[in-house]
Subunit: 531 residues, 2 copies
């Protein structure tokens, strides 16, 4: 699967030709032999053989893309140095633990008070099964993974416009939405709504499918009974002994189910970035940054703020402020991999073409605020049978997420109390850390009244527009900027190449940073061989 290299149009043409000759059985057998589709563009670590002895590369940034570039280039024989603004590896791959101190732009200082083992992942927090590059290097670098629970049927959905503002279980809403869709399509078929679309035989087969899929009764109705209760839950679930018999539950009024807009959540759970199986590192996402950091130990100069990148003299020369001493220093190398986020890079004097400078300036960054709320007791597990997953709301916090780590233990747990988007992010970023937590507690209480605030012990927040080393969350490309600037941004400019999630089509994901990095070092190496 990983070795498939054929371009898609050619493959399609071949498939079409086979289909015409041999019928669908032969067609599908050929597809099988080729793999159904590629899950990734990752084809294993890059082959960077033949590096010139003594050739050097300076890597700007010890985030995942920078560290992977450094790792692979050093393996290939290059002399590598990394300059990093922070005093830790990982960049946006980062977890906040008890005892950590974090100072945001504006000066607010937070001293994190979480119990040992607990954490907030301010940035990335989940890994899809098809992020093969990241999974490959996690295994290579010894990062222990555990399942991340995304979809939890028992979690809640809150929409202020539905059910009088009361949250309902995702399970009930999803069951009732899809059950009604099945029943309605059945009715529409009976009302001849598909007569012009499919044959009578196909309509009958579709009705059979709808009955099975939507858990309809024998009369094609989604109604109170064993079938629907087996999905949406029972008023009294089956039990043991004398009172073992279940009592069926009544589906919710379809009008209210529609008002909850649950369909958007169902669709979100089914998208490829949220499908099972997802993972997280045991002990926090920051374990990945730490593991990468270990691989490049000794190569990184921490606390180095890059101010100027020059390549006019047949080499790359980088000026940086050593933040510990306040002194400006210069380092030189033959080549440069620059992974500095664009919002920061656009403020640095970098010696690249006007077109690349325009590309660097063209891409705005999203903002988001994440808030971790440590709860003394895992009431969501103990009292409400919610293990991991997400409860959604149309309030500004957008969601709360229950920890996938330490499930079923008696330890305190950190709930992700907000993951804001759009305007709400700037509103939350404008608050003090204390105000953010207060607001998160207020809004999150809708899910767990009488417990949420009562069990709260301490919290932490990160507003990405105030994060000193990124000034935002991640690059927001659109169709136009892609067309005008993307190839310019990623192209090797003499001795300099850019890498990072901003130089990929998997924006905001670690996988994008890594694939971008591998592509960048492959092209830079090729350029070095040609020199």
């Amino acid at each position: 699967m990983l070795n498939e290299t054929g371009a898609a149009p050619t493959r399609r043409e071949v498939l079409r030709a086979i289909g015409m000759i041999g019928g669908s059985a032969v067609l599908y057998q050929t597809m099988e032999a080729w793999g159904h589709a590629k899950e990734t563009q990752f084809a294993g670590p890059p082959n960077l053989s033949g590096a010139r002895a003594g050739a050097s590369v300076v890597v700007l940034g010890a985030g995942l893309s920078g560290m992977l570039a450094a790792h692979e280039l050093r393996k290939a024989g290059y002399k590598v140095e990394i300059l990093e603004y922070n005093n830790r590896p990982g960049g946006r791959n980062w977890s906040l633990y008890g005892g950590d101190t974090y100072t945001e732009l504006g000066g607010a200082v937070q001293k994190v008070g979480f119990a040992p083992g607990n954490y907030l992942n301010p940035g990335p927090w989940r890994i899809p099964y098809h992020h093969r590059t990241l999974l490959h290097y996690c295994r290579e670098f010894g990062v222990a993974l555990e399942p991340f629970i995304q979809l939890n049927h028992q979690a809640l959905v809150h929409n202020s416009q539905a059910f009088g503002g009361k949250p309902m279980p995702y399970r009930d809403l999803a069951a009732d939405f899809e059950g009604n869709v099945a029943e309605l399509l059945g009715k529409a078929i009976d009302n001849r709504g598909l007569d012009s679309v499919m044959t009578a035989e196909d309509r009958d087969m579709l009705k059979e499918a709808l009955r099975g899929w939507g858990l309809l009764d024998k009369d094609m109705r989604y109604v109170k009974g064993n079938a629907s209760s087996r999905r949406r839950g029972f008023d009294r679930p089956p039990g043991g002994g004398v009172d073992g018999a279940p009592i069926y539950s009544e589906p919710l009024p379809f009008k209210d189910v529609m008002d909850s807009r649950v369909w958007g959540i169902v669709a979100q759970h089914m998208t490829i970035d949220h499908q099972t199986t997802m993972f997280q590192p045991v002990g926090g996402m920051g374990m990945i940054g730490k593991a990468f950091g270990k691989q490049v130990e000794g190569l990184v100069r921490y606390g180095a703020k890059v101010t100027k990148v020059d390549q006019s003299g047949g080499a790359v020369s980088v000026d940086y402020i050593d933040l510990a001493s306040g002194q400006t220093r210069t380092t030189k190398a033959d080549y440069c991999v620059c992974t500095i986020p664009l919002g920061i890079l656009s403020q640095i004097d970098i010696d690249v073409s006007g077109a690349k400078k325009a590309a660097i300036a063209a891409v705005p960054y999203s903002n988001s605020v994440k808030i971790g709320l440590e709860m003394k007791r895992r009431f969501w597990e103990e009292d409400e049978a919610i293990y991991g997953g997400i409860s959604f709301t149309d309030q500004e916090i957008a969601m709360i997420s229950y920890p996938s780590g330490g499930m079923h233990s008696r330890t305190p747990g950190v709930i992700l109390g907000a993951y804001t988007f759009g305007e709400a992010s700037y509103k939350f970023a404008g608050m003090t850390p204390e105000q953010r937590i207060e607001q998160a507690l207020k809004m999150g209480s809708v899910f767990h009244p009488g417990k949420y605030r009562e069990q709260f012990s301490n919290g932490a927040s990160v507003a990405w527009s105030r994060v000193p080393f990124t000034l935002g969350c991640c690059a927001m490309w659109n169709e136009e900027t892609r067309k005008e600037h993307y190839q310019e941004l990623v192209a090797v400019d003499d001795r300099i190449v850019l890498a990072g999630e901003h130089a990929s089509y998997i924006g905001c994901w670690m996988e994008g940073a890594l694939l971008s990095s591998l592509d960048a070092v492959t092209r830079l190496h090729k350029r070095a061989l040609e020199a």
Copy 2:
């Protein structure tokens, strides 16, 4: 939630009354206060206070129901003895590990060769979030749990009648089925198929929902494009650098999608017994039996085959064969909790009413065969990005399931190579263990040709009709036998009460055994207080 005791009809009447007076907002607020629905009939460990000093109970069977009964009765002050046929606790809760020897009825002996840490769960293998009794005692007794992956979008679906017999990813099939359902309902609405069912406004809102839920394009079509590829996957997924742009995939022909009957699998994943979040014990399901066994250590007489249960003399007298010596012995107690599976119990001379004897004889047991195949390499993870979950087939093996434990490790893994139902179970039970494995390899190879047989190292199988201590899988009640025999089966008969999954409405699940046990000891205790 756990404390709700109101019977459902009354509650419904009250809700209806509130709805009439205050409108739906008040209605839903009241529902919230009461909890949406009960997730379980478990209300915590039973209160068995006031036991008469010196009163004794003999428990027949050290499966989960028997051990829980013994644990709670001893806590309450009863003198307890357990008689168990096997030489281990757990009953059907059982894992086979490397080094274990298992002899089935008919005499076939299997010496299990799995690598350390690997196992086959012949019986139960997953725990739903709402099995609160089991989860409670797992925590109480220190059983470490980890997520069990049921639904895996990347796993495969094989139907010999579809796609020329080639397996397709569940992801693609589920996406294409639901996408087409959405598009078809949209078309049917346009064709006035729902004009008689809902208002124009509601139809428009439904179309909006269908577009979002089904990932349709702006013209309400489920076609090749970003929306559908975001769910069904890409021909070339998004990447980094120069070739980062994705290539969209073409949905499969709807006719073939229908032929795959994927809707039944989607529905199965959505039923309450298979919803997220599910668990399994770390190290095999048998860890639960072991943990329960530790709680009743010293109370169990292993290798004891019960032959007669008498209660004619103002006490219960149980004859059993001590299998080690071959001698028949007798033990006496004031009361008896009998958890022997009905297929075995019906062959034992037990002193209960004719009606109860009829009940014991009335319930047939299902059969199933499970086969574990140890693979040298986790090719499904490494090569195919399948982590846990189930691939389904219409062949007799019904499914193969990838281990949820040890994911992402470099250790060998045990695939569940068959979980048969119905007639296929008897066919497999009739084979030698070697023939079963050969058949499982042959059928399972459809999913992973060129790897499945090649990576196979060793295997083990359990055919439940040949399991000496149950002679079958679990009790198969139907509507008629429930009506005629269930209450008779569970009723206390003077000094004897029956417990086990067969005395519950959660047949075949450990939760049913436990809830039945709690109900049985509660009633037996009440009967003892009245004595």
